[in-house]
C-alpha cells in the first residue's frame, strides 16, 4: 500500500506542477458546474446536448467552425436518420466539377463535416474586427478546465471596471486571459426558441452548448467511462487473486525453506 501511496503522491505533485504552471496569466478561475458528464459514471445529457446543438447552429455557427464534427455524429445525441438528413440539407458544400469543368455546390449529406462559416482565415478575421473565431471542435479540451471555462466565458460578460482600459471593439470578460475578448456577448435571454420549450436563459443556453461541445470534443466519453468501470473491476479482481496466489506461493519462503539443498 505504501507503494501505491507513493505513486499517488508523485502523480498528484506532477499534476499540480503542470496545472499550476498556467494559472499565472489565465483569467479568473472558472465557475464550477456539476456536469452530467463528469465523474466516473458521467454521461451526456441528451436533451441538453440537443438544445446545445440548436444553440450552436443558430448562434455560434455564424462565426465558429466545427470541422471534426460530421452530421452523422448527431445520431449519438439521439437524432434519427431523417432528422440528420434534413439538418445536413440546410447547408451547402462544394461538389464535384461539372461537365464543363466548373465547380459546383451540393446540399450537405450526413457524411459531410459541418461547413465552416468562412472560406479562409483572412475572411474570418475580416468579419470579426481582426480577431479569429477558433474552431470549436476541441475547445473543451484545449483550455484548462475546459467545460467550466467555456461556460464561464459565455456567462461572464460584464461592464468593465472604471479603471480598466478596454481596447476598441473589445468586450470585458474577466474569465478570458487579459480580461478583454473580441467576441461580443453571444448569448442573451431568448436568443433561441427551444423546441422542447425549456426557457432560454443565458445560463441554460451556455450549459446546453457546453454539453454539446463536450460531446463534439470527446465523442467517446460515455463509452470510455463504461469500459473503464469494467476494466477497473477486472483489474481489481485479478490483483486480489494475484495477491492471494502470491501469499500462498510465498508461504514456504517466509517459513525459511531452502529450495536448493535436497
Amino acid at each position: 500500500m505504501k507503494l501505491v501511496k507513493n505513486i499517488a503522491i508523485a502523480l498528484t505533485l506532477g499534476t499540480v506542477a503542470l496545472t499550476g504552471a498556467n494559472a499565472a496569466d489565465a483569467g479568473k478561475h472558472p465557475l464550477q458546474i456539476d456536469w452530467s458528464f463528469s465523474g466516473p459514471l458521467g454521461k451526456f445529457d441528451q436533451a441538453s446536448a440537443q438544445r446545445g446543438w440548436q444553440v450552436y447552429k443558430q448562434v455560434c455557427s455564424s462565426c465558429h467552425g466545427l470541422k471534426y464534427f460530421r452530421f452523422r455524429n448527431l445520431a449519438d445525441i439521439g437524432y434519427g436518420e431523417d432528422m440528420i438528413k434534413a439538418f445536413a440539407a440546410e447547408y451547402e458544400v462544394p461538389g464535384d466539377v461539372d461537365d464543363f469543368g466548373d465547380p459546383t455546390v451540393r446540399p450537405a449529406e450526413p457524411k459531410d463535416a459541418f461547413p465552416s462559416p468562412f472560406p479562409n482565415e483572412n475572411a474570418a478575421r475580416a468579419s470579426n474586427g481582426g480577431a479569429l473565431p477558433p474552431d470549436l471542435s476541441l475547445i473543451n479540451k484545449a483550455r484548462h478546465d475546459g467545460a467550466n471555462y467555456v461556460y464561464s466565458l459565455l456567462v461572464g460578460y460584464d461592464d468593465a471596471p472604471a479603471d480598466f482600459e478596454l481596447g476598441a471593439g473589445m468586450n470585458y470578460n474577466p474569465y478570458f486571459k487579459g480580461s478583454q475578448i473580441a467576441m461580443a456577448e453571444p448569448l442573451f435571454e431568448g436568443a433561441v426558441d427551444y423546441e422542447d420549450g425549456t426557457p432560454a436563459t443565458q445560463e441554460q443556453m451556455a450549459k446546453d452548448v457546453v454539453q454539446f461541445l463536450m460531446y463534439v470534443a470527446e465523442p467517446s466519453l460515455e463509452k470510455r467511462h463504461q469500459m473503464g468501470i469494467k476494466v477497473l473491476i477486472f483489474l481489481a479482481l485479478l490483483t486480489i487473486l494475484l495477491y492471494i496466489s502470491m501469499k500462498v506461493i510465498w508461504k514456504p519462503v517466509k517459513e525459511g525453506k531452502n529450495f536448493y539443498d535436497e
Partner: protein, 422 residues
C-alpha cells in the same frame, strides 16, 4: 554468475528446437525456475519488470497508431483526431500510448531511484547501471519526438525550443540544428524524421534492454541489504516467486494506469496540444512534458557564463545551461566511481539516507520549478535546487563514502544476524 542450466523439454518438438536454438534455456536462466534470486527483494524491485511491460505496451499501441497516423504537417493533427473519432477503439489506443509514456517514465524513475538508494550502481553492476542510463537517454529522445507527432501547439513549440538548444554548441551548433530540422525551422521535414526516429528508437531500447538483462544475469540481482549472496540458502528461484510478485505489482500499477486512461486521460498532457500547431502564435508558456521538467529547470537555472561575465567567458551562459542539463543525467554514468563506499544499501548508511531523501525532495522541487515561469524568486530557487542536485553527486557522495561510519552489516541474507562493525 550463477551457472547456466540447460532446459530439457519433455515435448519432442520443443526438444528438437531447443537443441538447435536454446531459447527455453535462455528464458529459464534469466527469469525462470533456474534463475536463483535473492530471497529478500522488496517491492521497489518490481519496477524493472514494470518498465519492461510498459515498453511492450508502447510498442504495440505505437505500431497500431502508426497504421493510421500521417506524418505530414498539414494532416498530422487531423489524422490524430481521426484516430480519436473514426478508428475503432482509436481513442483507447491513443490514450494508452500518451499516458503510457508517462507511466513508463514513472516506472523507470522509481527503478532508477531504487538503484540510487540501494547502491545498485556499485561493483559488480557498473555496466548494468550504465546500460540503464543509456536506456533512459533513449527514452527521453523517443518521448520527446513522440510528443511532436500530434503537431499541436506544444508539439511545435516544444520541438522549437529543445532543438534550438543545440545551437549553443560552438562551431557546429547551427549545422546540428539544421540537420535536426531538415531545413531552417521546425517544419515538415522535421516531423518526418522525428516520426521515423520515433518508430526506430523503441526497438533500439528493446535491444539495450536485452543487454541490460544479460548484464543482470552476469552480476545477479542486488538486494535491499546490499550484501552478496553467501550460499544457496540466500536464494529462491525467480519463477514462480518473483513472477507472481511481479504480476501482483503489475496488477496494482495497471489499475492506476487504467484510472488515468479511462477517467483522466488528458490530466498529464497540456491543453494547448489540442490546438493545431501555428508557427505564428507563440503560446503564453511553453512547458515540456512532466518527465522532462527537472532537467528543464536545471537548464533555465544556469543563466550565467563560466568565467567573468562580459570580460572573459570560457563558456557562455546558453551553452553552460545546455551542458548542465546533459550533465545532470550523464553524471549518473560516473556514480560507481563517485560513491566509493563499500556499503551498498542506504539502510546501513545513516547520513547518506538523509542526503538521499533530500535528493528525492529536490527532484520534486525541480519538477515543480520547471513548470513555473522564470519570474520572481523562481530562478533563485532553481539555482539552489540545481546546486544541491550536482553537489549530491559530485561532493556529498565522494566525501560521504570516505567519512561516513556505516552500520554493521548482516551476516547473510538468510541469516540476518548483525555482524560487528568492521
Amino acid at each position: 554468475m550463477a551457472e547456466w542450466k540447460a532446459a530439457k523439454p519433455e515435448n519432442k518438438v520443443l526438444g528438437w528446437v531447443e537443441e538447435r536454438l536454446p531459447i527455453l534455456s535462455l528464458v529459464n536462466n534469466v527469469v525462470g525456475p533456474d534463475t536463483p534470486t535473492p530471497r529478500n527483494l522488496n517491492y521497489w524491485w518490481n519496477f524493472g519488470s514494470l518498465a519492461g511491460l510498459m515498453l511492450v505496451i508502447q510498442i504495440i499501441s505505437g505500431v497500431v497508431l502508426a497504421m493510421h497516423y500521417a506524418a505530414t504537417t498539414g494532416v498530422a493533427f487531423d489524422s490524430v483526431e481521426r484516430i480519436m473519432r473514426d478508428v475503432n477503439y482509436g481513442w483507447l489506443i491513443r490514450y494508452m500510448h500518451a499516458n503510457g509514456a508517462s507511466f513508463f517514465f514513472i516506472a523507470v524513475y522509481i527503478h532508477i531511484f531504487r538503484g540510487l538508494y540501494f547502491g545498485s550502481y556499485k561493483a559488480p553492476r557498473e555496466v548494468l547501471w550504465m546500460l540503464g542510463v543509456v536506456i533512459f537517454l533513449l527514452m527521453m529522445a523517443t518521448a520527446f519526438m513522440g510528443y511532436v507527432l500530434p503537431w499541436g501547439q506544444m508539439s511545435f513549440w516544444g520541438a522549437t525550443v529543445i532543438t534550438n538548444l543545440f545551437s549553443a554548441i560552438p562551431m557546429v551548433g547551427e549545422s546540428i540544428v539544421q540537420l535536426l530540422w531538415g531545413g531552417f525551422s521546425v517544419d515538415n521535414p522535421t516531423l518526418n524524421r522525428f516520426f521515423s526516429l520515433h518508430y526506430l528508437l523503441p526497438f533500439v531500447i528493446a535491444g539495450v534492454v536485452i543487454l541490460h538483462l544479460w548484464a543482470k544475469k552476469i552480476s545477479d540481482s542486488g538486494n535491499p541489504l546490499g550484501i552478496d549472496v553467501k550460499s544457496s540458502a540466500d536464494q529462491i528461484p525467480f519463477h514462480p516467486f518473483y513472477t507472481v510478485k511481479d504480476a501482483f505489482g503489475a496488477g496494482v500499477f495497471f489499475f492506476v494506469f487504467a484510472m488515468f486512461i479511462f477517467y483522466m486521460p488528458n490530466a498529464l498532457g497540456h491543453p494547448d496540444n489540442y490546438i493545431p500547431a501555428d508557427p505564428l502564435v507563440t503560446p503564453p508558456s511553453i512547458v515540456p512534458e512532466w518527465y522532462f521538467l527537472p532537467y528543464y529547470a536545471i537548464l533555465r537555472s544556469i543563466d550565467f557564463p563560466l568565467g567573468i561575465p562580459g570580460v572573459f567567458e570560457l563558456v557562455d551562459a546558453k551553452l553552460l545551461g545546455v551542458l548542465a542539463m546533459f550533465a545532470s543525467i550523464l553524471v549518473w554514468l560516473l556514480l560507481p566511481w563517485l560513491d566509493t563506499s563499500k556499503v551498498r544499501s542506504g539502510n546501513f548508511r545513516p547520513l547518506f539516507k538523509w542526503f538521499f531523501a533530500f535528493l528525492v525532495v529536490d527532484m520534486f522541487i525541480l519538477t515543480w520549478l520547471g513548470a513555473q515561469k522564470p519570474e520572481g524568486n523562481i530562478p533563485l530557487y532553481g539555482k539552489i535546487a540545481t546546486a544541491y542536485y550536482f553537489a549530491y553527486f559530485l561532493v556529498i557522495l565522494p566525501v560521504l563514502s570516505r567519512k561516513e561510519t556505516t552500520l554493521p552489516l548482516p551476516e547473510s541474507i538468510s541469516n540476518p544476524v548483525l555482524k560487528p562493525a568492521e
